[in-house]
């Protein structure tokens, strides 16, 4: 109790005298950054996960080509999940003399579990949000159905053995997700109509989805997984391969790396300021020991002080972090389509935990060292405590850092090598700087010019100079890396959605209509993609063996009609990964993912059948394709020689500004066979998600920057006392303020230059690794950064250091007489 009281008193006095400012500032900023990032990340990922879940129709989905066991739905019910079932298949609708192959989707009562269906009462009516689904006997249909069947809303169409009334125009399905390339126009019906229609039977190609919405996703997944058989696949929002979830995944990874860097930076700031704090308190410890305090008492005293300080700073930091995350959410609000779920206790525990771990790892060792201060220091000021073993200090710091990271990142192994590599690089560079400065010192002439003198002065303080360069360069390296990553991600997203991404797909264009349609499009404000010939075909054999069907793959490309095309012009966002472009003779270029699924490499033989005509080709190249690009893309691109003589239709996509939408209707009547699919809704949605995550990524950068400033501040503080003393002495020896100003600018400038060069080396290495390992992006070092960053660093550190030293110029040199 006495220790606690004394500790509180001492803490209070230190606080009042400003001794604790740097340490407290570093900790508060660190805690605030961690709190804001963990809170925001959790809420956003939950929120964005929700949105993603909407895209696939539930928090967990069983996708299947065989009827799933109804027990599995009941299982979800027992675990508190809401469930629904959808059945999709192609079926023919009749209206008078007209008939049409439609994509039917039959849904159970609770559908949709997430989001809402949207309809129109007629073509020009505003969108209407639906709370339910069509009642039995009614159908909500794609507007194209009305066109093609020559029908009006209210008409009745034949569907199998029953009749359906066309009730509304279906404008939006929340779980449209991947079904962008659904060729047949949609008919949405009540699942109760399946029975009377008798459209289902043996051999009907029906695709089932069991949708689940609820909390205990892991539990449900665990109990479902062992029961699933061949043909059933479990999918979760993050498994889904679509642009939004890909962007979400990368943004989440980015946020996690950003918070990791914020923590590393905070650790540096805390270590630096704690060291300074302890060095300034040797006298206090010596005095306490003189007055009879035993070593354990002093240890206890400082542990209590640190605990009180950490608790207070953690609370303040958490408050700031919470406010900051509210601020960030307010900025993001226009982009957030749904209310975000509140954060659970985890971010708070992580925040408080990381505050204590940071302090235990980085502040405790130097502070504990104070307990070893020999009492004789009271008489002999040159006596300092015996240094703790370096291994002990770095061991404690390393262990706490790792456990902190473990707390925040469950997939630590991903980034651990990068982190270790960076730490090793920095340590090695630090040693090199130390040794290099020692050498330089011997070479420079004592009475040389400004630069020589600055180098010599830095060399004279090799230890602190090396520490400062390491702190600056590490900070700068992390900031550069995170900024580079941000550029990479934002560029990739921008590439995915160019300003005028095609918002219409046109297909079933007959060869005789092609020139006229091309002419019509050219005259219109539309921005066209190339036209591709499309031949339907089926893969029959791979190297003379039948292709192996994949379990549960709804889009089983090995066993379905494929869109085959031929061209000599490589589509804009395709890249040849292997082999030769273009395909010559009897050869085909194959998309990388498809090739992987089939287990096919360059040189393999494939056999196809199209309309009874069988042909063999050799794989001549493997391509990467940006499926998210909204441009026409193909698994298989042949040479003209193979497909040129087969009956073909054409396919393209184009961008049409909203005010010219009426043109589509005109073209549809002009070219009756053609189908046009509008994808504005999907693009808008993707745009929303991308802008949302881009902005978050930008805002997160601000936090990392802020911790970076804390390091800069703490690193400059480490030598502030020495500089104050040295400055006063220099002035008593006749140095003018201009002289000192020049000296500070030169010294800090040199520190900054060295830090800038090291940071560029480090960030190029780290970015290259992160780009390839984590984000799957290409990395190219930028010569502009190499030319600018070292000098920017030089200027920035020179100015920051100079500003920090202004105090030296103001303080009276007479203080030397009072020491």
């Amino acid at each position: 109790m006495r220790s606690y009281y004394l500790a509180r008193q001492m803490l209070h006095r230190d606080w009042r005298s400003g001794e604790l400012a740097t340490l407290a500032f570093a900790l508060v900023v660190a805690v605030a950054a961690v709190a804001a990032i963990t809170l925001l990340t959790e809420r956003l990922t939950q929120g964005m996960g929700k949105e993603s879940a909407e895209l696939i129709g539930g928090d967990l989905v069983i996708r299947s080509t065989r009827e799933p066991d109804p027990e599995w739905l009941a299982l979800g019910g027992q675990l508190g999940f809401r469930t629904a079932t959808t059945y999709t298949f192609d079926s023919v609708l009749f209206h008078g003399d007209e008939m049409l192959m439609a994509g039917v989707k039959a849904v159970s009562d609770d559908y949709p579990l997430l989001g809402n269906l949207q309809t129109r009462q007629d073509r020009t009516a505003p969108l209407q949000i639906e709370e339910g689904i069509p009642s039995p006997g009614n159908a909500w249909v794609d507007a194209r159905i009305l066109d093609r069947l020559n029908a009006e809303l209210g008409d009745t169409v034949e569907f199998g053995a029953t009749r359906l009334r066309l009730e509304k125009i279906l404008a939006f399905e929340p779980d449209q997700g991947n079904s962008l390339f659904q060729l047949a126009p949609r008919v949405l019906i009540n699942a109760a109509d399946l029975e009377p229609a008798r459209v289902l039977g043996p051999g009907s190609r029906i695709r089932y989805r069991y949708l689940y919405q609820g909390e205990a996703v892991d539990e449900l997944r665990d109990s479902l997984e062992p029961r699933l058989g061949v043909g059933h696949t479990l999918i979760a929002p993050t498994d889904d391969d679509n642009s939004a979830s890909d962007a979400l995944l990368k943004a989440t990874q980015y946020l996690r790396i950003a918070s990791l860097l914020a923590i590393v930076l905070a650790a540096i700031a805390i270590a630096l300021s704690a060291r300074r704090y302890s060095e300034r308190h040797y006298d206090v410890s010596a005095m306490l020991r003189c007055l009879g305090a035993r070593q354990p008492e002093i240890v206890r005293l400082y542990v209590i002080q640190l605990t009180l300080l950490t608790g207070t700073c953690a609370a303040i930091g958490a408050l700031f972090g919470w406010l900051a995350h509210l601020g960030l959410l307010a900025v993001l609000k226009p982009l957030l389509p749904i209310a975000l779920p509140p954060a659970g206790p985890e971010p708070w525990l992580v925040t408080i935990g990381s505050a204590f771990l940071l302090m235990a790892g980085f502040a405790l060792p130097p502070v504990l060292r104070m307990a070893d201060t020999p009492p004789l220091r009271v008489l002999r000021r040159d006596l300092t405590p015996i240094p703790l073993s370096v291994w002990l200090i770095y061991g404690i710091a390393g262990v706490t850092q790792l456990s902190l990271l473990q707390l925040l990142f469950d997939d630590l192994p991903d980034i651990l090598p990068v982190l270790l590599l960076a730490a090793l690089a920095i340590f090695t560079l630090g040693c090199l700087i130390y040794v290099g400065l020692g050498r330089l010192r011997r070479r420079t002439h004592a009475s040389g010019g400004l630069w020589q003198r600055s180098i010599r002065n830095l060399a004279a303080n090799a230890g602190t100079s090396a520490t400062q360069v390491m702190a600056f360069s590490l900070t700068l390296m992390l900031l550069l890396t995170i900024t580079q990553l941000r550029h990479g991600l934002l560029d990739e997203w921008r590439l995915q959605l160019p300003a005028q991404a095609p918002n219409h797909f046109a297909f079933n264009i007959m060869p005789d209509a092609l020139p006229r349609l091309q002419g019509a499009l050219e005259e219109s404000p539309a921005r066209m993609e190339p036209f591709y010939p499309v031949i339907l075909g089926r893969l029959m054999a791979v190297n003379d063996l039948p292709p192996e069907p994949e379990d549960g793959d709804e889009e089983n490309a090995a066993d379905r009609e494929l869109n085959l095309t031929w061209t000599r012009d490589l589509p804009a966002d395709n890249h040849i990964l292997e082999g030769q472009w273009p395909p010559e003779g009897d050869s085909v270029s194959i998309e990388a993912g498809y090739a992987e699924r089939l287990g096919v490499a360059v040189g393999d033989q494939l056999r196809f059948n199209s309309g009874g005509y069988t042909f063999d080709v050799t794989v001549s190249s493997i391509r990467s394709v940006v499926w998210e690009s909204f441009s026409p893309n193909f698994f298989l691109i042949f040479s003209e020689q193979v497909l040129g003589d087969l009956p073909t239709s054409y396919l393209t996509s184009f961008y049409l500004p909203p005010e010219s939408k009426a043109l589509v209707t005109r073209w549809l009547t002009q070219f009756p066979g053609m189908t046009v699919l509008e994808v504005d809704a999907l693009i808008e949605r993707l745009e929303l998600v991308l802008s949302q995550v881009s902005l978050t990524v930008e805002l997160m950068l601000v936090f990392v920057m802020l911790t970076g400033f804390a390091v800069l501040f703490a690193a400059l503080q480490t030598t502030a006392d020495e500089r104050l003393h040295e400055g006063a002495l220099m002035r008593s020896l006749g140095a003018s303020r201009a002289y000192l100003r020049r000296a500070y600018l030169a010294e800090f400038g040199l520190l900054g230059l060295a830090a800038g060069i090291l940071a560029m080396v480090g960030s190029d290495v780290a970015s290259a690794v992160l780009y390839q390992q984590v984000f799957d992006l290409e990395y190219a070092p930028s010569p502009w950064l190499w030319l600018s960053i070292p000098f920017l660093a030089m200027a920035a550190i020179a100015i920051a250091g100079y500003r920090g030293s202004l105090k030296v110029l103001k303080v009276s040199p007479a203080r030397l007489l009072n020491q």
Binding site: D382, A446, E726, R731, S732, L733, G734, A735, S812, L816
Partner: protein, 241 residues
């Protein structure tokens, strides 16, 4: 007959007061005296009598509240801090009680420091000779932490004289040393001072040290009195120590 050229330090009606709480505290009042080139002057007084404050005003480290200080022909009142720094660099050397050597510089580098500030080239020889003179010829590349207190003060003496100043101010130069080390340091200080024909002003409360100076000025309650030089120290003063 005072020759204007001989007067190295002129102090006229100097007051110094500081703000403490609501009121002012007078530390020095009505101080006037003159020091001629080559003199050795001790400023003595009890602790808190304002000795160090007076010294910092004389050396241009601090400004008086009122009054005029002329150092080496330069009226300090008219100069800003940089102007006073220039005067210090050109004309003044310092020896401090706690040495104030820079811990990361070797003995030689510490002595070279004032030369660097003045931008004087090829000063190493001068510095090395001076260190030799103070008996540290084998310690040139040692750091302050590798030197004893007495040795550190010798380095400080070499630093004070390296620029060949006109006047050296010493603030309790033996205050941090034991008496025998202090004695030898003082011998050295006086010897070098005599060799270099420098004026020496030192602040001390050590009567023995004060007695070695040609003049003795006593500060009492902020006022200065000239004391008669004691050719032989009084026995009772010795006993009092």
């Amino acid at each position: 007959m005072d020759n204007q050229q001989d007067r190295i330090l002129d102090v006229a009606n100097v007051d110094k007061s500081v703000q403490v709480g609501d009121g002012g505290l007078d530390i020095l009042s009505g101080i006037s005296f003159t020091i001629k080139a080559g003199e050795t002057v001790a400023i003595v007084g009890v602790s808190g009598s304002g000795k160090s404050t007076l010294l910092s005003i004389l050396a241009g480290l601090d400004r008086p509240t009122r009054g005029l200080v002329t150092l080496c022909g330069q009226p300090l009142n008219n100069l800003d801090e940089d102007g006073r720094a220039a005067v210090r660099g050109q004309h003044v050397g310092f020896v401090f009680q706690s040495f104030h050597l820079l811990p990361n510089l070797t003995a030689l580098e510490n002595v070279l420091l004032p030369m660097e500030v003045l931008g004087r080239q090829n000063a190493e020889e001068t510095a090395a000779t001076l260190l030799e003179r103070v008996g540290l010829s084998r310690r040139l590349s040692h750091y302050p932490r590798q030197l004893s207190g007495g040795e550190q003060q010798r380095v400080a003496i070499a630093r004070a004289f390296v620029t060949a100043p006109d006047i050296v101010f010493a603030d309790e130069p033996t205050g941090n040393l034991d008496s025998s080390t202090g004695q030898s340091v003082i011998d050295l200080l006086f010897d070098v001072n005599r060799e270099k024909r420098t004026t020496l002003v030192l602040v001390t409360h050590d009567p023995a040290l004060a007695d070695r100076c040609g003049r003795r000025l006593r500060l009492d309650g902020g006022r200065l009195q000239e004391e008669a030089p004691a050719e032989s120290p009084l026995p009772e003063v010795r006993n009092a120590r």
